[in-house]
Symmetry: C2
Subunit: 356 residues, 2 copies
């Protein structure tokens, strides 16, 4: 294997310059596409570069220009369809503007998020899109701003932070879905979310550290209250983080004296887990229990019955976030804003009508 040398020093502008018999500065002008160079010299340099298979060192380039052409994205969980769709939206916006994307996974954990942010700042990304795991620990995000790196929050807003955010209209979405359930005659409604929580219960909505979840819960509760239903917090359950947890949450929920007749799932993963739980408990949807899930995920349209969902238009959210960030990077004079992407309820077959 003659190429096992492995690190034969890469070809540099200096090498090309020497081969083309011009100065390093001139070669750099040709290869970097700036300044003025005669056609003849340009050809010489290009020929030499091709012969040597010159590839520019973007690192060095970034060092002197101060721009990396990269935008960093910190998401909760790439495997979640919500985020992978969002990432595609961001990537598309980025590509259109000539930027590339580095993705880092936080696993919805604060420490991982912090170090991901630090890492990306270290790599001198031109801007950052972050899905903050918690809205009550924001020092690291403050630092991003202080470092002069444009920042856009995704899916969750932090009012104290005076920074752009792209979110769904979570409150309205929850309100619409909840009103629909009530209109169908349901009176005992549960809201199930994946957010970590000490115990499954909930006492103080204001303390939910994830704004998307909080606003949905608020919307949910406000509808129950306006409908005059008792104990609006009673059927709210957090902590459906994995299969076992969800199973036990659902089991406990349904074995109450008067169990809920409808479940609202905070995201498509929770929705899927709930679906499977109900299936394994031998319960039929929507005859025994009704459900609505957030996100128009793959699986929701092929089940029997197909699942009624809140369509979040995540791709648009991602694209918008990307565009906004790029506008910031290019110093567009914009007011700090929270951009809300509207959602819509897609009625399929997972909600029963209850006669009373």
């Amino acid at each position: 294997m003659e190429d096992s040398a492995h690190s034969k020093r890469a070809v540099t502008v200096a090498d090309v310059a020497k081969a083309a018999k011009v100065s390093k500065a001139t070669a750099a002008r040709v290869l970097g596409g700036y300044g003025v160079v005669s056609a003849k010299i340009t050809d010489q340099v290009m020929a030499a570069a091709a012969a040597l298979e010159y590839r520019p060192n973007e690192l060095a380039r970034s060092m002197s220009t101060g721009r990396s052409g990269i935008i960093g994205v910190v998401v909760g969980d790439i495997e979640n369809a919500f985020f992978s769709l969002a990432v595609r939206g961001i990537s598309d916006a980025a590509r259109l503007a000539g930027f590339n994307v580095i993705i880092a996974n936080s696993g919805e954990e604060l420490d991982a998020e912090k170090s991901a942010v630090d890492l990306l700042i270290g790599k001198r990304v031109d801007g950052l899109i972050v899905t903050p795991a918690r809205c009550d620990s924001i020092e690291h995000l403050r630092h991003v701003r202080r470092a002069g790196v444009p920042l856009v929050l995704f899916d969750r807003a932090i009012p104290e932070l005076d920074v752009d955010a792209v979110t769904g209209d979570d409150r309205d979405a929850a309100i619409t879905a909840t009103r629909y359930l009530i209109a169908q005659g349901h009176r005992r409604l549960a809201y199930v979310s994946a957010m970590d929580a000490e115990d499954g219960g909930l006492t103080d909505i204001g303390r939910i550290s994830n704004s998307a979840v909080r606003e949905r819960v608020e919307g949910f509760v406000s509808v129950l209250t306006e409908a005059g239903l008792p104990n609006p917090l009673h059927y709210i359950r957090l902590g459906a983080t994995n299969h076992q947890q969800t199973d036990s949450v659902i089991k406990r929920l349904l074995s109450e004296g008067s169990p809920p007749t409808a479940l609202l799932a905070s995201d498509s993963l929770v929705g899927l887990r709930i679906f499977k739980s109900l299936q394994s408990l031998g319960l039929s949807i929507p005859k025994d229990v009704s459900m609505i899930s957030f996100l128009d995920a793959d699986w929701t349209s092929v089940t029997v019955p197909p699942i009624t969902i809140v369509d979040q238009r995540v791709y648009e959210m991602g694209k918008l976030a990307g565009e906004r960030l790029i506008a910031r990077i290019e110093r567009a004079p914009l007011a700090v804003e929270r951009l809300r992407v509207s959602t819509s309820l897609v009625v399929r077959g997972s909600v029963a009508t209850i006669d009373r």
Copy 2:
């Protein structure tokens, strides 16, 4: 907004050194964690760094060390569950070894793949994992090798390229699935893949430019041949790239004089499209048509009936690819290998038994 200045020069080692009243070299030693420095000076420097909120410039660091700590991944389509799972496997392996990951999407297009590879090489990634869109255009991959950057192919192998590859045991998987279908009494079997093709038909297996698809088709065909079934190529269809295409492929396939009784889907996206097509055609699975899909995707276990699948263990594949690449980066003396991750057939309910 007092921080609208936006680019207040970042804090450098020199700044920290000045504040700590030591030389740049000493400050660098403390901040970079190399060399020897007395405890007293270390404290001074750390204090100054903390006060100034120093963050190292990884770009500059990479420039002098020649290592970026990044591995580049070029995948076909992040939104495909296959790839997002693989990416998680790769990321986990990377994180464990202290590497970070940049992801680029090729959209299964050769040009996009080439420019992604170029870009990543330009960013001086320490290694590259690529899912080659085609196995017959490999000059850009040759160049990666010539540039001295370790490379691991993912999901598809290219024997001519003398480079590590991590794939499934595609041939065996297809054989197992096909034999199973035949054992259930099926005699007219179709294979449907998403690969681009001029027309849907297929004349020369050897010319399939994607090794995974080719090997699966080979396996499929070999079983049909060994079972003495006529015209093994007859029901092989490529080009099920999107919903419309798949619909028309399926429609044409089933409106033949003697339509296939079982379909084998090349990946979970194709599988899902097939499922929906059949549903919209009013055909029942498995009564009217049987099917098997590759990949244990979300949706396959919640349909009615649940789908019999070929479980590909993609996470393991990704992890293995990551580990292999890192071993290469760290100059482990390994022979070039093709690593095959075994698959297994998970029988669920989408295949009917045909009595004859």
